[in-house]
């Protein structure tokens, strides 16, 4: 077990998979010589050469399209987009091609492509660099969506993503690159569709993704210390496939659910999950499901406004107390 940062864990995953499988190669803007905007690809060009670690022009749709073609031809490309916002330029390749091709060709052609992209706010990068689009990708059939919140999951999920035969959107959170955590050595793999229960509790289920998994844990500590509320915190780790069973089991125990995400409220991850929970565990609910989301605005640039648009632990505490109102002494 080694302690490392998220960016180092991701780097290790890429390195190990490239060593293990020659068909794995990397493409993206400034990933080779500059070693990536967030230094995830540090040292990889030196180790594997320019052929397998390729700098590209600023041309997202083409980068992803090249990845789709390479994947169809039998390689396992890992494409980096500099932020999730730039992935919008590649939506044609992602939705019309990467996601659809395996269906269009009845599975005769697979697209084992990984598209990595950092998202989320907190670094004052403004509305064109800071959004959270997990919900948009979640909506697309044919695409898997991974959202690691810890260094160990970053490594384990990225290795699984590279080995999976489906196109995977791999969302990294900009403020989590520096987070430290213990990462199992050797070939550490985290299965898709397996949620992690970060904290056990009996009073309310809090589901949080990416950075919000950490905020949920902080809120849970406050709830226990100041309000006598024991929250169970669940990090789904992948949104598609989703480990709904773990979430439903928890809700059946606690009778309450709060879902936290940094993305927008309408049609969000929380909106979707709230629908699934009420469809499948309606009789177990003791209060309306609460969502804590980012503000319904483009991400502001001003530091104060940006912080105001992102959920914080106190918002989660409020939402939880809304669900437990009257239920606890």
């Amino acid at each position: 077990m080694a302690t490392m940062r998220m960016r180092e864990a991701l780097n290790e995953a890429l390195r190990e998979e490239m060593e293990r499988d020659e068909s794995v190669f990397l493409m993206g803007e400034d990933i080779a010589v500059f070693e990536g905007a967030f230094k995830v690809t540090q040292g990889l060009m030196d180790q594997f050469g320019e052929r397998r670690v390729r700098d590209t022009p600023i041309s997202e749709n083409t980068i992803v399209g090249t990845g789709v073609g390479a994947a169809m031809a039998g390689l396992r490309p890992v494409v980096e987009l500099m932020t999730v916002n730039f992935s919008l330029l590649a939506f044609d390749q992602i939705i019309n091609h990467a996601a659809a091709i395996p269906y269009m060709f009845n599975g005769q052609v697979r697209v084992p492509l990984v598209i990595r992209m950092p998202g989320g706010g907190g670094h004052q990068l403004g509305p064109t660099h800071s959004h959270s689009f997990e919900a948009m990708f979640l909506q697309i059939p044919g695409i898997l969506v991974a959202c690691p919140s810890t260094a160990a999951d970053g490594k384990g999920l990225l290795k699984t993503a590279i080995r999976d035969d489906n196109p995977v959107i791999f969302v990294e959170h900009e403020t989590l690159y520096g987070i430290r955590g213990e990462v199992p050595e050797d070939d550490h793999v985290v299965e898709f569709g397996s949620a992690a229960v970060r904290r056990e509790g009996s009073d309310v289920t809090i589901v949080g993704i990416l950075k919000m998994a950490h905020e949920a844990e902080r809120a849970a500590e406050t709830l226990a210390a100041e309000h006598g509320v024991e929250a169970e915190v669940i990090d789904p780790r992948t949104l598609r496939p989703l480990d709904l069973d773990t979430i439903l089991d928890s809700v059946r125990k606690t009778n309450r659910a709060v879902i936290v995400e940094e993305g927008w409220p309408h049609g969000g991850v929380g909106a979707n999950l709230a629908a699934l929970i009420q469809e499948q565990a309606f009789d177990h609910l003791d209060a309306p499901i609460q969502r804590v989301t980012g503000a319904d605005v483009p991400m502001p640039y001003s530091k104060r406004l940006e912080q105001s648009a992102i959920p914080h632990p106190e918002h989660i505490v409020s939402a939880v107390l809304e669900t437990t109102s009257g239920a606890l002494p």
């Binding site: 009778n255 409220p265 309408h266 969000g268 929380g270 909106a271 309606f282 009789d283 177990h284 609910l285 003791d286 209060a287 309306p288 609460q290 969502r291 804590v292 989301t293 980012g294 503000a295 319904d296 605005v297 912080q307 105001s308 648009a309 992102i310 959920p311 914080h312 106190e314 918002h315 505490v317 409020s318 939402a319 107390l321 809304e322 109102s325 009257g326 239920a327 606890l328």
Partner: protein
């Protein structure tokens, strides 16, 4: 939900015979409904297109509820406007953008949870706000949500409220109100041995409800007398001797029915009902006869018994009893009674008291005819006596009223020639 019988309070939709979009003419069979008394086919009393079915098959609804709409198909989406089933309204949820709003408020801190939980008394008929699991736990434990105070937001009843109520009244929990076969299976052996829960049929439920309601709300008092039946029995023997093959011979009970009918015509109060704080006196004298059916008790009616001869009463009561046994009796034949006669004489019961069939004023309980020694002119001679007991609703009949009525019935049966007048 149409009222298909006098005592009907709710009905169950068994089957729709028309589908949405079908043309419906007056008199068309529209829907089959199970009432407290029988299964009835309801014929449409309006013409048009069946625009909407609001009560699915199997749904049980109180009378007056809208179960379907027949009209102009272009009005399909217009509001019904007159008291359909209450539509649940979405409760205002906390806004999804809560964090933004909180934060935009400047504080960015924790918003105090508003305490609207203060328990306001619910008005009757108001929708009970309860969380899904609170409803489920209440159903499992046989607790009535209507009696609980909600401590959740807006007075919502939550699981903790139900659990507190369950702890406070464990005795109630032992007897689930709702049928719960699964729970019954888990019940441990008691000193009374194992328990087999027998569900009541709809008819039995109606009988229990109405009998309990009668005893609880109608102040009963009882008058007992003995009737010298020697002449009546003699008269019946002569009628029987004179009857030709196939003639219906009136029974003693038919004579009792006839005697009551004559007396009821003379004592309108005894033929009345108590409803909503006043007495209703009825123009027709309709005598109900309690008939034991399989697993049930029904009271078919001899209408206008005061105007019918003994033989007709006899023929009708045979037919009614037959149809009760066959299960082909219809609600109209079971409705409209203004008085009831209950006779257990055939079981050798000498006397008993009965429960008034609400909203009627009285019920006559008739025992068997017994050969007894009687004292006449200072000498003990053989006599034939029948004990009768009149249960009266004191809100309608007072002691002297009931006594005069019962005396009149006795006089008529002791001089049966009057029954022929």
């Amino acid at each position: 939900m149409p009222r298909l019988s006098d005592s009907m309070e709710e009905g169950t939709v068994l089957a729709w015979m028309k589908a949405v979009g079908d043309e419906v003419a007056v008199g068309d069979e529209l829907v089959e409904i199970e009432t407290d008394k029988a299964n009835m086919v309801y014929e449409s009393d309006v013409a048009g297109t069946l625009v909407e079915i609001l009560a699915e098959e199997g749904a049980t609804l109180p009378i007056g509820s809208v179960i379907a709409r027949v009209g102009d198909p272009s009005e399909a989406t217009a509001g019904d406007g007159n008291g359909g089933p209450p539509r649940t309204e979405a409760e205002p949820e906390a806004p999804a953008e809560a964090p933004a709003e909180d934060a935009a408020g400047g504080a960015g801190g924790e918003e105090g949870v508003t305490d609207e939980a203060a328990a306001a008394p619910r008005r009757s008929g108001e929708r009970i706000k309860a969380s899904p699991i609170a409803r489920r736990v209440a159903a499992d434990r046989g607790l009535d949500l209507a009696g609980l105070t909600g401590s959740g937001p807006g007075g919502r009843i939550i699981k903790a409220d139900v659990e507190r109520a369950g702890e406070a009244a464990p005795a109630q929990a032992a007897e689930p109100a709702a049928p719960a076969p699964a729970a019954a299976a888990e019940r441990p052996e008691t000193a009374r041995g194992s328990i087999e829960t027998v569900e009541l049929t709809r008819l039995q439920q109606t009988v229990s409800r109405r009998m309990a309601e009668s005893k609880a709300t109608a102040p009963h008092f009882y008058l007992t007398t003995e009737i010298d039946m020697s002449r009546a029995v003699e008269a019946r023997a002569r009628i029987k001797a004179a009857a030709s093959e196939g003639d219906v011979v009136p029974s003693v009970n038919d004579m009792v029915v006839k005697a009551c009918a004559i007396a009821l015509r003379e004592f309108p109060r005894a033929n009345g009902s108590y409803r909503d704080g006043h007495v209703e006196e009825h123009s027709r004298v309709n005598v109900g006869i309690a008939v034991a059916a399989r697993d049930a008790l029904v009271v078919p009616t001899v209408f206008d018994a005061d105007e019918k001869g003994l033989r007709q009463i006899a023929a009708e009561s045979r037919g009614l009893a037959e149809r009760v046994r066959e299960g082909t009796i219809t609600p109209p034949e079971l409705s409209g009674g203004t008085f009831t006669v209950s006779n257990l004489g055939m079981f050798g019961i000498t006397s008993f008291s009965a429960v008034i069939n609400p909203p009627q004023a009285a019920i006559l309980a008739v025992g068997s005819i017994e050969d007894v020694p009687v004292v006449r002119d200072g000498e003990i001679v053989p006599g034939r006596r029948m004990a009768v007991n009149l249960a009266c609703d004191h809100r309608i009949l007072y002691g002297a009223d009931g006594a005069r009525f019962l005396a009149r019935v006795r006089d008529l049966l002791e001089e049966p020639v009057f029954l022929a007048l």
